[in-house]
């Protein structure tokens, strides 16, 4: 493995995370959504696994060992943003604020429940892909040793 890859690949996670968040934040106005953002981050993590191997990759970034809780949290966030309208008497996936109502902005980020649904999707997709990568990488290492 060349030094360049070993040095650069693990450090790509930061830019990838920024890119993913940008996609989500802009997602509701512009191209992209939680799914693409999740896959992009997962790709950067995959590069880290390839460059460092499972143990080193996870020693430096322990959250990679806890993909299960993150995936569950993602599903719960998505479920909550989809179904909290039911408590208000709306059908599921009636997002708040409703059509024509004012939206709170923070830059281009809009505070609407559709965006939090997208965030849940992002967390789920990323952690699910990482979980599979972890298992595959262990399998590869186990086979070689």
């Amino acid at each position: 493995m060349s030094v360049v890859i070993e040095v650069i690949a693990p450090r790509l996670i930061g830019p990838a995370l920024i890119l993913a968040l940008a996609i989500i934040v802009k997602g509701y106005q512009d191209v992209g959504d939680g799914f693409s953002a999740g896959v992009i981050l997962a790709l950067a993590i995959a590069l880290r696994y390839i460059a460092l191997g499972v143990d080193r990759a996870e020693a430096g970034l322990p959250i990679l060992r806890h993909t299960g809780p993150v995936a569950v949290a993602g599903i719960l966030v998505a479920l909550a943003s989809g179904f909290f309208g039911v408590l208000l008497g709306d059908p599921p996936f009636t997002h708040q604020p409703g059509p024509g109502e004012d939206v709170v902005h923070f830059g281009t980020l809009e505070f609407i429940t559709a965006v939090s649904f997208d965030l849940g999707l992002f967390a789920l997709v990323t952690s699910a892909l990482v979980a599979v990568m972890h298992a595959l990488a262990r399998l590869v290492e186990g086979g070689e040793s």
């Binding site: 997602g27 509701y28 106005q29 512009d30 191209v31 992209g32 959504d33 939680g34 799914f35 693409s36 896959v39 992009i40 997962a42 790709l43 995959a46 299960g68 995936a71 599903i75 998505a78 479920l79 989809g82 039911v86 059908p91 599921p92 996936f93 997002h95 604020p97 059509p99 024509g100 939206v103 809009e110 609407i112 559709a114 965006v115 649904f117 997208d118 999707l121 789920l124 997709v125 699910a128 892909l129 979980a131 599979v132 972890h134 298992a135 595959l136 262990r138 399998l139 590869v140 086979g143």
Partner: protein, 759 residues
């Protein structure tokens, strides 16, 4: 004792205590449920009807009406008794199986879910909800029957129960969908008002009835129940009396107004019920194992209930409701008796025990009450169940009357054989002392059976309210002791006399019954099931071999039928104006260039014998297409295509790193099959895809319809990007379901890769 042993022992005690807490929590839950159900019932019932997803026709329609109260009270009341019993039984069971006591935690969790799903089913008034809870009871019972998962028989029994009741539950769903298609609602009260007698109603009612028959272990789908005896005894006691098996007749009682719209279904219930009574009682006479006797007795007892629903009317509905109560009280007590006897003596066969009345007088007395109730002797609630049963049979005519007397006599005979075999006669086995908690619940249930025999009023009212729901019109029940020569009393006397006769002719009757059982084992539905499962397995193996051993076959298996379907559509649908050739302008040059690259890459993939190069070519193809999307104004699709293409390439390279070196033989075999087949299959499939895509591209951009309306609505949903808005808002529920499927699939993959361990 070393220090490590000491530590381990202390940890075991601590874990044991945690399980104890869980166990008492489960009992508390059942008790609280009982108290709630009782309170709501006494205050006249209550209901919730909440359309939470109106676009999908989903609603939460639960009611603790007459029928709901009866079954909810049974599920929680019997639940308290069985759970309390299990506190004493489970430690013995786990010790006996050589497993740590902490494993009881799984038992308690599933038992609680079992009870909850049964209460939910009792209250559900919507076919989708009924299906949901119906299947939930099946899932819970699967894990409970397979509680001793190291034993092969337990796993097989659990799978059989899940298979028989789960597959038939699909019929229930099918019936529900048929009714929804015809009337646009899953809600039962609306369906009762809308459904007219006719073919659709008959078919739907029959499908629902078959699902209920399988659940209630009615012939010929009864064979799963005796095998389910592999479960720990508390599970059997609960499953037979208040959950799972009771769920079948509960559904029959709930949808009964639909069933009455079809003579065929009503007559079918009579036939199925009578056959189950006959098969169940004869086999109960033939069996030697305690729990097997009781299991076959359950088949026959629910046969009575099915017959009563088949008779219908206020008499049938009322008798069925009271029957379920009396049976649940007696049967759970008898199962727990069998368990207590096994704990005390270590024996589980009738021929190995005997004379236990002197050693365990309280157990003998309590189970005598339960047995007497099942046999319909006076001073127990069981007497009234048969009184009402005979009353309903009289309405139906002399043939039914004779069948009723015969059925009752058999019940008396086999249950007397059961009780006398355990508690009377010479003592055959040593009996150890058993914990008081193993006997107390039996005594309590026996006392309730006795109380019902003295003061039937509250029970009759409960049953009458349930029957009112079933019958769709008010029902009044007045069971009582009459010291005269009315038909019911004469029939009861006849049944007792005949039963005593059967009991005295035990050797002869037993031999005949065993011959019947042997014939059933060889030719019966269980043998058919076994043959069917083996054949299915073999078929599946063969398909698996064909598909998995050769990648070419598995690809062709998808592509060729798809091509055939498209060709058929091409032939049978009009094609005028569907295919148009547009013009090419200078703006289209980038797309043409990209598509040319994609085509070249595709040709390279088919011709390159290497390994990594085709993958790279595949990736070129993918990126060229993604770029084409971007150019033609679909940036969302392009973005997804790019990321997916990247992942695909990484996965391919990763998997190739694991593959063993190419086998020369395999390559030669591929060559021998010849490239002709590949070319034909590939060309055919490609042509079909070309035809479809051409037709799709020939259409004008959609200016009206759903898509246009959604594009217009996007700004109102605070979104500029129509694709994202569609995913998160307009079709949000679809996305939610998709990501759930994704999560479950990935969980499965990860578990497989880790050889069955989750993390």
């Amino acid at each position: 004792m070393t220090m490590r042993d000491d530590e381990r022992g202390r940890r075991r005690v601590r874990r044991g205590r945690a399980t104890d807490v869980l166990a008492w929590a489960a009992v508390g839950l059942a008790g609280a449920g009982l108290a709630c159900a009782l309170a709501v019932t006494l205050s006249g019932g209550g209901s919730v009807d909440w359309e939470w997803a109106p676009t999908l026709g989903l609603r939460l329609d639960l009611a603790l009406d007459g029928l709901g109260s009866l079954y909810a009270l049974l599920a929680t009341g019997i639940g308290v008794a069985v759970f309390a019993y299990a506190i004493a039984y489970m430690p013995w069971h786990l010790d006996h199986e050589g497993r740590p006591r902490a494993e009881a935690a799984r038992f308690w969790a599933w038992m609680a879910i079992f009870m909850g799903s049964m209460v939910g089913l009792a209250c559900a008034r919507d076919l989708i909800l009924i299906f949901f809870f119906f299947d939930l009871t099946a899932v819970a019972s699967y894990f409970l029957i397979a509680f001793d998962r190291e034993r092969r028989e337990a796993r097989g029994a659990a799978l059989m129960a899940l298979f028989v009741t789960g597959v038939s539950a699909v019929l229930l769903l099918l019936g529900a969908v048929l009714l929804y298609d015809a009337h646009g609602t899953f809600e039962l009260r609306e369906l009762f008002a809308l459904a007219e007698p006719g073919t659709t109603t008959t078919i739907a009612a029959a499908l629902i009835a078959i699902a209920a028959f399988a659940k209630s272990a009615q012939a010929p789908l009864h064979f799963w129940l005796p095998r389910a005896m592999e479960a720990p005894t508390p599970v059997s006691a609960y499953l037979h009396s208040a959950a799972m098996v009771a769920a079948g007749v509960l559904v029959l009682g709930r949808v009964h107004p639909l069933l009455t719209r079809s003579e065929l279904v009503m007559d079918g219930m009579l036939v199925v019920g009578l056959a189950s009574i006959l098969i169940g009682s004869v086999l109960a006479f033939a069996k030697d194992e305690l729990k097997q006797i009781l299991a076959h007795s359950t088949i026959s007892q629910y046969g009575y209930v099915v017959v009563l629903y088949g008779i219908g009317g206020p008499e049938g509905a009322g008798a069925a409701a009271l029957y379920v109560v009396a049976h649940a009280l007696a049967k759970s007590a008898l199962f727990m008796t069998a368990g207590a006897v096994t704990v005390a003596t270590g024996e589980s066969r009738l021929s190995r025990v005997g004379g236990l009345a002197r050693r365990m007088p309280l157990l003998a007395a309590a189970s005598a009450l339960a047995a007497a109730s099942l046999a319909a002797l006076p001073l127990t609630i069981g007497f009234f169940k048969d009184e009402l049963f005979f009353g309903a049979a009289i309405e139906k005519g002399p043939l039914m009357q004779a069948a009723a007397v015969l059925a009752a006599s058999f019940t008396l005979a086999y249950i007397a054989r059961f009780w006398l075999g355990i508690f009377a006669g010479p003592a055959r086995a040593e009996a150890a002392r058993v914990p008081a908690l193993l006997v107390a619940p039996i005594a309590a249930l026996g006392a309730v059976s006795l109380a019902g025999g003295v003061v039937i009023g509250p029970f009759a009212e409960l049953a009458a309210n349930a029957a009112t729901v079933t019958n769709g019109a008010p029902v009044e029940l007045h069971p009582a002791y009459h010291l005269d020569t009315r038909a019911e009393n004469l029939m009861a006397l006849g049944a007792w006399a005949l039963g005593a006769l059967l009991l005295f002719g035990r050797p002869l009757v037993g031999a005949a019954a065993r011959a019947f059982a042997r014939a059933g084992d060889r030719l019966g539905p269980r043998a058919i099931y076994r043959t069917g499962v083996i054949a299915l397995n073999r078929f599946s193996d063969r398909v698996h071999d064909e598909e998995v051993r050769d990648l070419r076959n598995s690809i062709a298996a998808v592509l060729v039928p798809a091509g055939i379907l498209v060709a058929a559509a091409f032939i049978f649908t009009p094609t005028d104006g569907v295919y148009r050739v547009g013009s090419v302008s200078a703006d289209d040059l980038p797309i043409i260039g990209l598509l040319a690259v994609a085509a070249l890459a595709a040709i390279q993939i088919t011709r390159d014998p290497g390994r990594l190069r085709p993958v790279m070519a595949l990736s070129v193809l993918g990126f060229a297409l993604a770029a084409a999307y971007a150019v033609s104004g679909a940036p969302d699709v392009a973005l997804v295509a790019v990321v997916v293409e990247t992942v695909l390439t990484v996965v391919f390279v990763g998997v190739y790193a694991r593959l063993p070196r190419a086998q020369r033989q395999a390559r030669e075999r591929g060559r021998r099959q010849g490239p002709g087949r590949n070319a034909i299959a590939g060309g055919f499939a490609g042509l079909a895809a070309f035809v479809v895509i051409w037709a799709a591209l020939s259409r004008q951009p959609v200016a009206e319809g759903d898509a246009a309306r959604q594009a217009e609505a996007a700004p109102a949903a605070h979104g500029g990007d129509i694709v994202t808005v569609t995913l998160a808002d307009f079709r949000g529920l679809d996305t939610m379901v998709e990501i759930t499927v994704l999560a479950v699939a990935l969980l499965g993959v990860a578990t497989l890769l880790r050889r069955g361990r989750l993390w």
